[in-house]
Symmetry: none
Amino acid sequence: MATSDLIAKFILDLLENANGTLELQRATLADKFNCVPSQINYVISTRFSPEHGYIVESRRGGGGYIRITRVRSRPRQLIMHTVNAVGDSLDIRTAKAFISNVVNEGALDKRFARLILSAIGDNALRPVNQEQRDTVRASIFKQILINTISE
Amino acid sequence: MATSDLIAKFILDLLENANGTLELQRATLADKFNCVPSQINYVISTRFSPEHGYIVESRRGGGGYIRITRVRSRPRQLIMHTVNAVGDSLDIRTAKAFISNVVNEGALDKRFARLILSAIGDNALRPVNQEQRDTVRASIFKQILINTISE
DNA sequence: GTCAAATTTGACCTTTATTGACCTTGCAAT
DNA sequence: ATTGCAAGGTCAATAAAGGTCAAATTTGAC
Protein backbone atom coordinates (compact mmCIF):
# COMPACT_ATOMS: atom_id res chain seq x y z
CA MET A 1 0.00 0.00 0.00
CA ALA A 2 1.30 3.41 -0.91
CA THR A 3 2.50 5.69 1.87
CA SER A 4 -0.21 8.21 1.13
CA ASP A 5 -2.82 5.54 1.66
CA LEU A 6 -1.30 4.55 4.97
CA ILE A 7 -1.28 8.13 6.12
CA ALA A 8 -4.88 8.61 5.07
CA LYS A 9 -5.89 5.45 6.89
CA PHE A 10 -4.06 6.59 9.99
CA ILE A 11 -5.85 9.92 9.98
CA LEU A 12 -9.16 8.22 9.39
CA ASP A 13 -8.55 6.00 12.41
CA LEU A 14 -7.70 8.96 14.57
CA LEU A 15 -10.82 10.75 13.43
CA GLU A 16 -12.87 7.72 14.29
CA ASN A 17 -11.49 7.49 17.80
CA ALA A 18 -11.62 11.19 18.31
CA ASN A 19 -15.23 11.48 17.33
CA GLY A 20 -14.80 13.49 14.17
CA THR A 21 -12.19 16.07 14.95
CA LEU A 22 -8.48 16.01 15.54
CA GLU A 23 -5.35 18.06 15.60
CA LEU A 24 -2.03 16.90 14.36
CA GLN A 25 1.55 18.04 13.99
CA ARG A 26 2.69 17.94 10.41
CA ALA A 27 6.36 17.30 11.10
CA THR A 28 5.68 14.62 13.68
CA LEU A 29 3.33 12.76 11.40
CA ALA A 30 5.73 13.01 8.49
CA ASP A 31 8.38 11.57 10.73
CA LYS A 32 6.20 8.67 11.75
CA PHE A 33 5.78 7.70 8.12
CA ASN A 34 9.29 8.56 7.01
CA CYS A 35 8.15 11.02 4.43
CA VAL A 36 8.65 14.69 3.79
CA PRO A 37 6.24 17.05 5.54
CA SER A 38 4.72 18.25 2.33
CA GLN A 39 3.39 14.78 1.69
CA ILE A 40 1.04 15.35 4.59
CA ASN A 41 -0.34 18.31 2.71
CA TYR A 42 -0.68 16.15 -0.35
CA VAL A 43 -2.67 13.55 1.52
CA ILE A 44 -4.88 16.14 3.10
CA SER A 45 -5.61 17.95 -0.10
CA THR A 46 -6.32 14.80 -2.06
CA ARG A 47 -8.32 12.93 0.57
CA PHE A 48 -9.66 15.32 3.13
CA SER A 49 -10.94 18.12 0.97
CA PRO A 50 -14.30 19.78 1.52
CA GLU A 51 -15.62 17.65 -1.33
CA HIS A 52 -14.77 14.68 0.80
CA GLY A 53 -16.63 16.21 3.68
CA TYR A 54 -13.88 17.67 5.81
CA ILE A 55 -12.90 21.07 7.05
CA VAL A 56 -9.22 21.67 7.48
CA GLU A 57 -7.80 24.51 9.52
CA SER A 58 -4.22 25.14 10.48
CA ARG A 59 -1.89 27.44 12.27
CA ARG A 60 1.78 28.04 11.65
CA GLY A 61 4.55 29.02 14.00
CA GLY A 62 5.27 27.72 17.48
CA GLY A 63 2.54 25.41 18.69
CA GLY A 64 1.25 25.14 15.16
CA TYR A 65 -1.18 22.42 14.15
CA ILE A 66 -3.45 21.08 11.47
CA ARG A 67 -7.00 20.47 12.51
CA ILE A 68 -9.26 18.20 10.53
CA THR A 69 -12.96 18.09 11.19
CA ARG A 70 -15.45 15.82 9.61
CA VAL A 71 -18.74 17.44 8.79
CA ARG A 72 -21.97 15.50 8.76
CA SER A 73 -25.43 16.45 7.78
CA ARG A 74 -28.62 14.59 7.13
CA PRO A 75 -28.86 12.70 3.83
CA ARG A 76 -31.25 14.96 2.00
CA GLN A 77 -29.43 18.00 3.12
CA LEU A 78 -26.09 16.53 2.17
CA ILE A 79 -27.28 15.69 -1.30
CA MET A 80 -28.77 19.11 -1.86
CA HIS A 81 -25.62 20.63 -0.53
CA THR A 82 -23.64 18.57 -2.97
CA VAL A 83 -25.84 19.55 -5.87
CA ASN A 84 -25.31 23.17 -4.99
CA ALA A 85 -21.60 22.72 -4.62
CA VAL A 86 -21.27 21.36 -8.14
CA GLY A 87 -20.95 24.18 -10.58
CA ASP A 88 -21.44 24.11 -14.32
CA SER A 89 -18.37 22.00 -14.79
CA LEU A 90 -17.19 18.90 -13.00
CA ASP A 91 -14.06 16.86 -13.58
CA ILE A 92 -14.08 13.19 -12.82
CA ARG A 93 -11.79 13.44 -9.83
CA THR A 94 -13.93 15.94 -8.07
CA ALA A 95 -16.98 13.92 -8.94
CA LYS A 96 -15.45 10.90 -7.30
CA ALA A 97 -14.68 12.90 -4.21
CA PHE A 98 -18.27 14.09 -3.98
CA ILE A 99 -19.64 10.64 -4.49
CA SER A 100 -17.43 8.95 -1.97
CA ASN A 101 -18.38 11.60 0.52
CA VAL A 102 -22.06 11.06 0.00
CA VAL A 103 -21.61 7.32 0.25
CA ASN A 104 -19.52 7.57 3.39
CA GLU A 105 -22.21 9.63 5.03
CA GLY A 106 -24.70 6.96 4.26
CA ALA A 107 -26.76 9.24 2.08
CA LEU A 108 -26.32 7.08 -0.97
CA ASP A 109 -26.19 3.38 -1.62
CA LYS A 110 -22.91 1.96 -2.93
CA ARG A 111 -24.64 0.43 -5.92
CA PHE A 112 -26.16 3.75 -6.81
CA ALA A 113 -22.81 5.36 -6.47
CA ARG A 114 -21.26 2.94 -8.90
CA LEU A 115 -24.08 3.46 -11.28
CA ILE A 116 -23.67 7.19 -11.16
CA LEU A 117 -19.97 6.84 -11.74
CA SER A 118 -20.56 4.73 -14.78
CA ALA A 119 -23.00 7.31 -16.11
CA ILE A 120 -20.58 10.20 -15.83
CA GLY A 121 -17.33 8.34 -16.48
CA ASP A 122 -15.19 9.06 -19.49
CA ASN A 123 -16.28 5.82 -21.07
CA ALA A 124 -19.92 6.81 -21.13
CA LEU A 125 -19.07 10.33 -22.23
CA ARG A 126 -16.76 9.28 -25.00
CA PRO A 127 -19.03 10.70 -27.74
CA VAL A 128 -18.83 14.09 -26.07
CA ASN A 129 -15.77 16.05 -27.02
CA GLN A 130 -13.22 16.94 -24.39
CA GLU A 131 -14.08 20.60 -24.06
CA GLN A 132 -17.69 19.81 -23.28
CA ARG A 133 -17.24 16.75 -21.09
CA ASP A 134 -17.04 18.41 -17.73
CA THR A 135 -20.09 20.49 -18.48
CA VAL A 136 -22.14 17.49 -19.49
CA ARG A 137 -20.81 15.57 -16.53
CA ALA A 138 -21.93 18.27 -14.14
CA SER A 139 -25.37 18.35 -15.68
CA ILE A 140 -25.94 14.62 -15.53
CA PHE A 141 -24.53 14.38 -12.05
CA LYS A 142 -26.81 17.03 -10.65
CA GLN A 143 -29.81 15.66 -12.44
CA ILE A 144 -29.25 12.22 -11.01
CA LEU A 145 -28.71 13.48 -7.50
CA ILE A 146 -31.82 15.59 -7.64
CA ASN A 147 -33.85 12.68 -8.87
CA THR A 148 -32.41 10.53 -6.15
CA ILE A 149 -33.97 12.55 -3.39
CA SER A 150 -37.23 13.45 -5.03
CA GLU A 151 -40.21 11.08 -4.78
CA MET B 1 -0.92 -22.22 -25.54
CA ALA B 2 -0.78 -18.54 -26.29
CA THR B 3 0.70 -16.23 -23.71
CA SER B 4 -2.58 -14.43 -23.31
CA ASP B 5 -4.26 -17.70 -22.42
CA LEU B 6 -1.58 -18.46 -19.87
CA ILE B 7 -2.01 -15.08 -18.29
CA ALA B 8 -5.77 -15.51 -18.22
CA LYS B 9 -5.42 -18.91 -16.62
CA PHE B 10 -3.03 -17.51 -14.07
CA ILE B 11 -5.44 -14.76 -13.12
CA LEU B 12 -8.29 -17.23 -12.97
CA ASP B 13 -6.29 -19.36 -10.56
CA LEU B 14 -5.51 -16.41 -8.39
CA LEU B 15 -9.16 -15.44 -8.35
CA GLU B 16 -10.07 -18.94 -7.30
CA ASN B 17 -7.65 -18.96 -4.42
CA ALA B 18 -8.47 -15.44 -3.44
CA ASN B 19 -12.17 -16.04 -3.30
CA GLY B 20 -13.18 -13.85 -6.18
CA THR B 21 -11.11 -10.76 -5.82
CA LEU B 22 -7.49 -9.92 -6.36
CA GLU B 23 -5.04 -7.11 -6.89
CA LEU B 24 -2.11 -7.27 -9.19
CA GLN B 25 0.78 -5.20 -10.41
CA ARG B 26 0.73 -4.81 -14.14
CA ALA B 27 4.47 -4.51 -14.61
CA THR B 28 5.24 -7.43 -12.30
CA LEU B 29 2.81 -9.70 -14.02
CA ALA B 30 4.07 -8.69 -17.45
CA ASP B 31 7.53 -9.50 -16.25
CA LYS B 32 6.50 -12.91 -15.02
CA PHE B 33 5.23 -13.77 -18.47
CA ASN B 34 7.93 -11.96 -20.40
CA CYS B 35 5.50 -9.78 -22.23
CA VAL B 36 4.92 -6.07 -22.52
CA PRO B 37 2.69 -4.49 -19.88
CA SER B 38 0.02 -3.58 -22.34
CA GLN B 39 -0.61 -7.23 -23.01
CA ILE B 40 -2.01 -7.44 -19.51
CA ASN B 41 -4.56 -4.84 -20.55
CA TYR B 42 -5.32 -6.86 -23.59
CA VAL B 43 -5.97 -9.98 -21.56
CA ILE B 44 -8.10 -8.10 -19.11
CA SER B 45 -10.17 -6.38 -21.73
CA THR B 46 -10.73 -9.51 -23.75
CA ARG B 47 -11.36 -11.94 -20.91
CA PHE B 48 -12.24 -10.06 -17.76
CA SER B 49 -14.60 -7.43 -19.03
CA PRO B 50 -17.91 -6.65 -17.33
CA GLU B 51 -19.59 -8.70 -20.05
CA HIS B 52 -17.65 -11.64 -18.73
CA GLY B 53 -18.76 -10.94 -15.22
CA TYR B 54 -15.86 -9.07 -13.75
CA ILE B 55 -15.31 -5.62 -12.37
CA VAL B 56 -11.92 -4.14 -12.99
CA GLU B 57 -10.68 -1.16 -11.06
CA SER B 58 -7.24 0.35 -11.17
CA ARG B 59 -5.10 3.13 -9.92
CA ARG B 60 -2.04 4.71 -11.49
CA GLY B 61 0.97 6.27 -9.90
CA GLY B 62 3.01 5.09 -6.95
CA GLY B 63 1.44 2.07 -5.30
CA GLY B 64 -0.80 1.60 -8.30
CA TYR B 65 -2.66 -1.62 -8.93
CA ILE B 66 -5.27 -3.42 -10.97
CA ARG B 67 -8.06 -5.03 -9.02
CA ILE B 68 -10.26 -7.69 -10.54
CA THR B 69 -13.43 -8.85 -8.90
CA ARG B 70 -15.68 -11.63 -10.07
CA VAL B 71 -19.34 -10.91 -9.66
CA ARG B 72 -22.50 -12.79 -9.46
CA SER B 73 -25.27 -11.71 -11.75
CA ARG B 74 -28.45 -13.49 -12.60
CA PRO B 75 -30.47 -11.45 -15.05
CA ARG B 76 -27.38 -10.85 -17.06
CA GLN B 77 -28.58 -12.23 -20.34
CA LEU B 78 -31.47 -9.88 -20.65
CA ILE B 79 -29.39 -6.88 -19.81
CA MET B 80 -26.61 -7.87 -22.15
CA HIS B 81 -29.16 -8.51 -24.79
CA THR B 82 -30.47 -5.02 -24.30
CA VAL B 83 -27.01 -3.54 -24.42
CA ASN B 84 -26.40 -5.25 -27.69
CA ALA B 85 -29.72 -4.13 -29.06
CA VAL B 86 -28.92 -0.48 -28.49
CA GLY B 87 -27.00 0.91 -31.40
CA ASP B 88 -24.91 4.03 -31.56
CA SER B 89 -27.93 6.24 -31.22
CA LEU B 90 -30.88 6.15 -28.89
CA ASP B 91 -33.84 8.47 -28.58
CA ILE B 92 -35.56 8.94 -25.28
CA ARG B 93 -38.73 7.09 -26.25
CA THR B 94 -36.87 4.01 -27.27
CA ALA B 95 -34.78 4.23 -24.17
CA LYS B 96 -37.90 4.27 -22.05
CA ALA B 97 -39.17 1.23 -23.85
CA PHE B 98 -35.97 -0.66 -23.23
CA ILE B 99 -35.96 0.29 -19.60
CA SER B 100 -39.52 -0.64 -18.89
CA ASN B 101 -38.95 -3.94 -20.60
CA VAL B 102 -35.98 -4.74 -18.42
CA VAL B 103 -37.87 -3.64 -15.34
CA ASN B 104 -40.88 -5.74 -16.25
CA GLU B 105 -38.69 -8.74 -16.64
CA GLY B 106 -37.46 -8.17 -13.15
CA ALA B 107 -33.91 -7.67 -14.25
CA LEU B 108 -33.74 -4.16 -12.97
CA ASP B 109 -34.91 -2.40 -9.88
CA LYS B 110 -37.42 0.44 -10.28
CA ARG B 111 -35.23 2.86 -8.41
CA PHE B 112 -32.36 2.06 -10.71
CA ALA B 113 -34.59 2.57 -13.66
CA ARG B 114 -35.51 6.02 -12.46
CA LEU B 115 -31.90 6.83 -11.93
CA ILE B 116 -30.99 5.78 -15.43
CA LEU B 117 -33.81 7.82 -16.86
CA SER B 118 -32.65 10.89 -15.05
CA ALA B 119 -29.14 10.33 -16.36
CA ILE B 120 -30.14 10.12 -19.98
CA GLY B 121 -33.10 12.47 -19.94
CA ASP B 122 -33.11 15.69 -21.92
CA ASN B 123 -32.67 17.65 -18.75
CA ALA B 124 -29.38 16.02 -17.95
CA LEU B 125 -28.24 16.21 -21.54
CA ARG B 126 -29.14 19.83 -22.01
CA PRO B 127 -25.51 20.90 -22.54
CA VAL B 128 -25.23 18.46 -25.40
CA ASN B 129 -26.50 19.80 -28.68
CA GLN B 130 -29.43 18.16 -30.38
CA GLU B 131 -27.56 16.38 -33.13
CA GLN B 132 -25.32 14.63 -30.64
CA ARG B 133 -27.82 13.86 -27.91
CA ASP B 134 -28.96 10.48 -29.06
CA THR B 135 -25.41 9.34 -29.51
CA VAL B 136 -24.41 10.41 -26.06
CA ARG B 137 -27.59 8.93 -24.67
CA ALA B 138 -26.80 5.57 -26.21
CA SER B 139 -23.32 5.60 -24.82
CA ILE B 140 -24.33 6.46 -21.29
CA PHE B 141 -27.20 4.02 -21.36
CA LYS B 142 -25.06 1.11 -22.39
CA GLN B 143 -22.36 2.01 -19.94
CA ILE B 144 -24.80 2.09 -17.07
CA LEU B 145 -26.42 -1.17 -18.02
CA ILE B 146 -23.09 -2.90 -18.27
CA ASN B 147 -22.14 -1.65 -14.87
CA THR B 148 -25.47 -2.71 -13.52
CA ILE B 149 -24.82 -6.35 -14.08
CA SER B 150 -21.53 -6.25 -12.33
CA GLU B 151 -21.40 -5.44 -8.65
C1' DG C 1 -3.24 -20.58 -49.62
C1' DT C 2 -6.23 -16.63 -48.18
C1' DC C 3 -8.37 -13.70 -45.13
C1' DA C 4 -10.15 -12.29 -40.92
C1' DA C 5 -9.62 -12.52 -36.16
C1' DA C 6 -6.66 -12.81 -32.30
C1' DT C 7 -2.38 -11.78 -30.37
C1' DT C 8 1.89 -9.40 -29.59
C1' DT C 9 4.67 -5.19 -29.40
C1' DG C 10 6.03 -0.67 -28.69
C1' DA C 11 5.67 4.28 -28.76
C1' DC C 12 3.47 7.73 -26.40
C1' DC C 13 0.00 9.53 -22.75
C1' DT C 14 -2.29 10.37 -18.21
C1' DT C 15 -2.70 9.96 -13.50
C1' DT C 16 -0.97 9.61 -8.81
C1' DA C 17 2.74 9.78 -5.53
C1' DT C 18 7.09 11.41 -3.71
C1' DT C 19 10.61 14.79 -2.86
C1' DG C 20 12.85 19.04 -1.95
C1' DA C 21 13.81 23.88 -2.36
C1' DC C 22 11.98 27.97 -0.99
C1' DC C 23 8.14 30.89 1.23
C1' DT C 24 4.99 32.66 4.95
C1' DT C 25 3.24 33.05 9.49
C1' DG C 26 3.19 33.17 14.54
C1' DC C 27 5.49 33.79 18.68
C1' DA C 28 8.76 35.30 21.95
C1' DA C 29 13.06 37.16 23.56
C1' DT C 30 15.75 41.20 22.86
C1' DA D 1 10.70 47.19 16.36
C1' DT D 2 14.04 43.43 15.41
C1' DT D 3 15.48 39.03 15.23
C1' DG D 4 15.33 34.17 15.40
C1' DC D 5 13.26 29.90 15.66
C1' DA D 6 9.29 26.95 15.04
C1' DA D 7 5.75 25.61 12.62
C1' DG D 8 3.04 24.99 8.37
C1' DG D 9 2.33 26.20 2.96
C1' DT D 10 3.41 26.15 -2.08
C1' DC D 11 4.94 24.62 -6.19
C1' DA D 12 7.45 22.45 -9.57
C1' DA D 13 10.42 18.49 -10.74
C1' DT D 14 10.73 13.68 -10.87
C1' DA D 15 9.34 8.99 -10.24
C1' DA D 16 6.08 5.30 -10.40
C1' DA D 17 2.49 3.30 -11.80
C1' DG D 18 -1.26 2.12 -15.33
C1' DG D 19 -3.85 3.34 -20.14
C1' DT D 20 -4.38 3.81 -25.20
C1' DC D 21 -3.87 2.97 -29.82
C1' DA D 22 -2.33 1.23 -33.91
C1' DA D 23 1.18 -1.36 -36.46
C1' DA D 24 3.11 -5.92 -37.01
C1' DT D 25 2.65 -10.68 -36.50
C1' DT D 26 0.55 -15.08 -35.74
C1' DT D 27 -3.18 -18.33 -35.89
C1' DG D 28 -7.13 -20.77 -37.53
C1' DA D 29 -11.11 -21.58 -40.42
C1' DC D 30 -12.28 -22.40 -44.95
